[in-house]
Amino acid sequence: MVSTATAEAPQSGKGLSPAAEPAVNHIEAHGLNKTFGSFKALEDIDFAIRNQEFVSVLGPSGCGKSTLLRIVAGLIPYESGSATIKGEMVRAPRPDVGVVFQTNNMLPWLTVRRNVELGARIRNMPADARDAAVDKILDVLSLTKFADAHPHQLSGGMRQRASIGQALVLDPQILLMDEPFGALDALTRDKLNVELLRIWQESRKTVMLITHSIAEAVFLSDRVLVMADRPGKIVEEVTIDLPRPRNAATTRAMPKFGEYVAYLGKVMGVAS
C-alpha cells in the first residue's frame, strides 16, 4: 500500500540510513532477454538494485536501456528470464513505482497543479491527502508560483520538473527515470541534477536512472551499470564511492569524481 505524504506526517524514509530498512533488493533482473522481431534488444541482463539505492544505467543510444526500464516498469513484456520488484514478478505497472519519461507528460489542457495530481486522481487518493501531497511537491520543485499556469507557459526545465512531480505525487518507494533530462540544455540539466539529488537525499527512494550522461550518472549514483549495444547487455558495474550528502560544488570538484568520469568514459569508448 502506498503511504500518502501529508504535511503532518513527513515521508517515512527521511533521515534513515539505508541499513535501517531490511536489506531487500527492490529491483532484480535475472537472465532477462528481449527481442523485437529478429532484433535482439536485451541479452541475459542480470542486476539488482537494493532498497533506497540510486543506480544509473549508462549506455549509448539504442543500447536497449529504455527497453530495460519499460520492462521493469511493467509497460512491455519480455521473453525469458525474470524481472522482479520487491521479489514479485513484474506483470503490470505498480502503484509503488513511479516512472518519469524523457518526454514530459504534461497534458496541455490541464494546469500544472492538475497535471501533477493526475496520478493521485487516477489512483483515487482522497482529496485532502491529494491536495497536501501536491502542495508539498510543488513546493519541493519550486513550482508553487506556476501551479495555475498551463504547461506551454513553462520552460522546458520547469515542465520536466513538473513531470517528476507527476511521478512523486503517489510517494512511490521506487522511481524509474528514463533520461528525464535528456531533452534539456546542459545548464538546466545540471540544475535539475542538483534538485533531483536533493529530493532523493530527503526521501531516499530506490532509483533506477537511465542516462547517457557520464557526469550525471557519477554525480547522482551509488552504482553505475554500463550497457553495450547490439545486443544490449550490462558490461561493467562501477560502485561510486563518493561521500554523501553530495552537493554541486564540492562533489564535482573531487579528484575521485574526475577519475570515475574518466574511467566510465574509457569503458564506453568515449575517452582515449
Binding site: L75, W109, I122
Partner: protein, 254 residues
C-alpha cells in the same frame, strides 16, 4: 494602444470594399441595362426581401431546423462511429473502408432517393443535411482519437489508468481540436445538403422559396433567399468558431 488604429484601418477597408461592390452592382445593372430577371439591382432585392419578410423568416426557421437537427444527428452518430472504429480493429477493417467509399459518392445524387424514402417533408431534408455533415465528423473524430500522443498513452498505462479514465482524461480532450475542425467543415455542408434536398423536392424552406421564385421569374426574391442562406451559414460558422475558443489547446505541443 498599438493595433487599434491598424484594426480600424482594416475595418474601414472592408466597409469601403463592400460599399463599392454594392454601388457597382446597383448602378452597373442600370448602366448596362441588365434585365432585372437576370440580375436585379441590389435595392430591388432589399425591397423584395422586406416585402416577403414574414415568408422568408418562416422558411428560414424551417431550413435552420433541418440544418441543426441534421448536423446534431451527424455529430452524435459521427462521433459514435468514429469511436467504434477507433476502438475496434474489426470495425476498422470492415466499416471504415465502407464509410470511406461512401464518402466519395456525390451526396447530392442521393437527394431524390431521400425523397423517395422519407417523403417531401422535413425528414428527407434532415437526412440530406446529415449525409453531408456526417463524413467529415467521422473522419475528424477518428483522426482526433488516433492522434492521441503515444507518450501520454504510455504515461497513463504507467499510472494504471483504466480505459474509462484514459478516455475521459486523455483521449477525449486530445480528440477535441480535430473534432472541432470536423464541425467547421461539416456545418456549411449541412446547410448545402438541406438546400439541395429542398431544391429537389419540398413544400417549405428557403430552397423551396428559391424554386417558387424561379418559377415566377422573381429573381429578386431568389437573390434575397441566397443572401439569407449565406448569412445563416455565416452565423452558424461563427457559432462553431465561438465553441472552438474553448478548445484553446489545439496545436499546442508541450
Amino acid at each position: 494602444m498599438p493595433g487599434v488604429s491598424s484594426r480600424l484601418a482594416a475595418y474601414s477597408q472592408v466597409v469601403l470594399f463592400f460599399g463599392a461592390f454594392l454601388l457597382f452592382w446597383e448602378y452597373g445593372v442600370r448602366y448596362f441595362e441588365v434585365k432585372s430577371y437576370i440580375l436585379p439591382p441590389i435595392s430591388a432585392i432589399a425591397v423584395a426581401v422586406w416585402e416577403a419578410r414574414s415568408e422568408i423568416f418562416e422558411n428560414s426557421m424551417y431550413t435552420l431546423a433541418e440544418v441543426l437537427i441534421g448536423f446534431g444527428a451527424a455529430v452524435v452518430v459521427g462521433v459514435m462511429l468514429g469511436m467504434v472504429v477507433y476502438v475496434s480493429p474489426f470495425a476498422q477493417r470492415t466499416i471504415y473502408p465502407l464509410v470511406t467509399a461512401l464518402q466519395t459518392t456525390p451526396k447530392s445524387a442521393l437527394a431524390p432517393l431521400m425523397i423517395v424514402w422519407f417523403g417531401y417533408g422535413f425528414i428527407s431534408k434532415v437526412a440530406m443535411a446529415f449525409l453531408f455533415a456526417f463524413f467529415p465528423i467521422v473522419v475528424a473524430t477518428l483522426g482526433g482519437f488516433a492522434g492521441t500522443a503515444k507518450n501520454l498513452e504510455e504515461h497513463f498505462r504507467a499510472l494504471n489508468a483504466g480505459p474509462w479514465r484514459t478516455f475521459t482524461t486523455l483521449r477525449l480532450p486530445s480528440a477535441l481540436p480535430s473534432f472541432i475542425d470536423g464541425c467547421r467543415v461539416a456545418m456549411p455542408l449541412a446547410m448545402i445538403g438541406a438546400i439541395i434536398g429542398e431544391l429537389v423536392g419540398s413544400e417549405r424552406g428557403l430552397g423551396n422559396l428559391i424554386m417558387l421564385g424561379t418559377a415566377s421569374t422573381r429573381t429578386d426574391l431568389v437573390f434575397g433567399c441566397i443572401i439569407v442562406i449565406t448569412l445563416i451559414s455565416l452565423a452558424l460558422y461563427a457559432l462553431i468558431e465561438f465553441a472552438a475558443k474553448s478548445v484553446w489547446w489545439r496545436g499546442i505541443q508541450v
